[in-house]
């Protein structure tokens, strides 16, 4: 009983330390990936990672904190808060289905993340910015050409956002999968959702915390 209590406490502390680290990973990945590729944002890698290894709650907290940090640089980003939270929550639930054990399973989940990060973010921008196009690459390269071809403005913008975001999220999911695979099993099994991201079988009583 006492051992169980001690185990829970320490796991919580690890999660508490992983949350700020995941926010920093989001910032770092954005700076490195976006400045190099101009298509892959990578600013949700940390959120998806913590959602996958610690669960939906910590994932949501990473989303909130990441947005808080972004808000300092660009306060308009506050409208994107629900999306960052959704990435963390969805990752936690998908992790329970053991999707981060196989690469193909992780990549197949791209449309789910793409819908949240693309379609829903596009809808929020559309509503928050007065029902018009926003000056980003998705609008310029896909949204406006579709609109000029006769597609209604909302759908043109949403499809553009969805396409660009699916590319970003596919890359993020691959990177998250590779990061999880690079982490030692003895580290993963100490995390709340570690058992869902490693295929190694272990007896909980054997784990030293």
């Amino acid at each position: 009983m006492n051992g169980k209590k001690r185990k829970k406490k320490k796991m919580d502390n690890m999660t508490k330390l992983l949350i700020p680290l995941a926010v920093a990973i989001n910032m770092l990945a954005y700076n490195v990936l976006y400045s190099t590729t101009m298509v892959i944002l990578g600013d949700s890698i940390g959120t998806i990672l913590v959602g996958a290894v610690c669960g939906p709650g910590p994932g949501a907290v990473v989303g909130i904190l990441s947005n808080l940090v972004n808000v300092i640089k660009n306060p308009v980003m506050i409208v994107m808060l629900p999306l960052n939270v959704a990435f963390g929550v969805v990752s936690g639930y998908l992790s329970r289905k053991k999707i981060f054990i196989r690469l193909w399973k992780a990549v197949l989940c791209t449309p789910i993340y793409g819908f949240i990060g693309g379609w829903l973010s596009g809808s929020i921008i559309f509503l928050a910015m007065g029902g018009d196009f926003w000056g980003n690459m998705a609008s310029v390269f896909v949204g406006i050409p579709l609109f000029n071809a006769g597609v209604p403005k909302y759908f043109a913008m949403a499809v553009g956002q969805l396409l660009f975001d699916c590319i970003d999220k596919a890359a993020c999911l691959i990177l998250v999968y590779l990061i999880i695979r690079s982490l030692p099993d003895r580290f993963l099994i100490k995390l709340p959702y570690g058992k869902y991201v490693t295929s190694k079988q272990y007896d909980e009583s054997e784990v030293e915390f």
Binding site: L17, L21, A24, V69, N74, P75, D132, F133, W134, G135
Partner: protein
């Protein structure tokens, strides 16, 4: 500052000698949130401009005025101009009263007003929040939240997020240098840069994550999770009645202004 002065500074409430910087952090946050969201909700250039001017006046009287206007200018170019160009392009040739002609096509007045609404919504929202973030230390804000009942774990997470970003950037630079010493090219053409992303990014992330285990032990050794009231080195003065009044007034103005703005503007 002598050692004695440094020690003595922690025996009193933290003061910076500027009325806005010394404003209670939570009252200041409520004030800025109220006006920021009013700009977003009303979404008309008149409301945005009024809030932008208010933020500018506040910023002029703070030590952060230079950073404020530079950041605002950069955000205007990055965040607004591109969107304005896109919007004007989309609306070129639309029916309605003409504001001016661009490349031989009519730009309607409605498109110009829509752009003004967007610019001043962003600048108003951005301006009022910049006055908050540039003049408030995050540790003071977290301390104030802790005083009104926020859990120390939550404030720890917020504060270590900000310190973590700085330390992970330092780690990135040292890993980049190390990889360069091992012969991995990190500068050059686009292809070279893309190739160098993973060898630089992965060691930083993996080593930071595995380092968490040691930090957990250190936290336990210092009884972080122990029950009891946490003590603080820096202390912030409690909110004065006038500061509370200003925060409440800002909330009332936000609600009344948002309703009036949506109806009459």
């Amino acid at each position: 500052m002598t050692d004695r002065e440094f020690i003595e500074s922690f025996r009193h409430y933290q003061k910076k000698g500027n009325w806005w910087c010394d404003f209670h952090p939570i009252a200041k946050l409520v004030f800025c949130l109220a006006f920021g969201f009013m700009s977003l909700i009303v979404f008309k250039w008149q409301a945005g401009l009024a809030i932008f001017i208010l933020a500018g006046i506040i910023a002029i009287f703070t030590p952060a005025r230079k950073t404020y206007f530079i950041t605002l200018g950069v955000m205007f170019v990055v965040g607004c101009l591109f969107t304005v160009v896109v919007r004007l392009y989309v609306h070129m040739g639309d029916p309605g009263p003409v504001a001016f002609y661009l490349f031989g096509k009519a730009v309607p007045k409605a498109a110009v007003i829509s752009c003004l609404d967007l610019i001043f919504m962003i600048e108003g929202f951005l301006g009022i929040f910049m006055t908050f973030f540039l003049t408030t230390e995050m540790r003071d804000l977290c301390y104030s939240f802790e005083q009104i009942g926020m859990s120390p774990s939550a404030t720890f997470m917020v504060l270590s997020t900000f310190s973590g970003i700085a330390s992970i950037k330092e780690k990135l630079n040292s890993v980049r240098e190390s990889q360069r010493a091992r012969g991995i090219e990190t500068e050059g053409s686009l292809i070279v840069k893309i190739k160098s992303v993973l060898p630089v990014l992965f060691p930083v992330i993996i080593s930071s994550m595995t380092g968490v285990e040691d930090r957990t032990l250190a936290m336990d050794a210092r009884a972080f999770a122990a029950n009891g009231k946490h003590t603080a080195l820096r202390k912030v003065a409690p909110a004065k009645p006038v500061e509370k009044l200003i925060a409440v007034l800002a909330l009332i103005i936000c609600v009344a202004g948002s309703i009036a703005g949506r109806i009459y503007l």
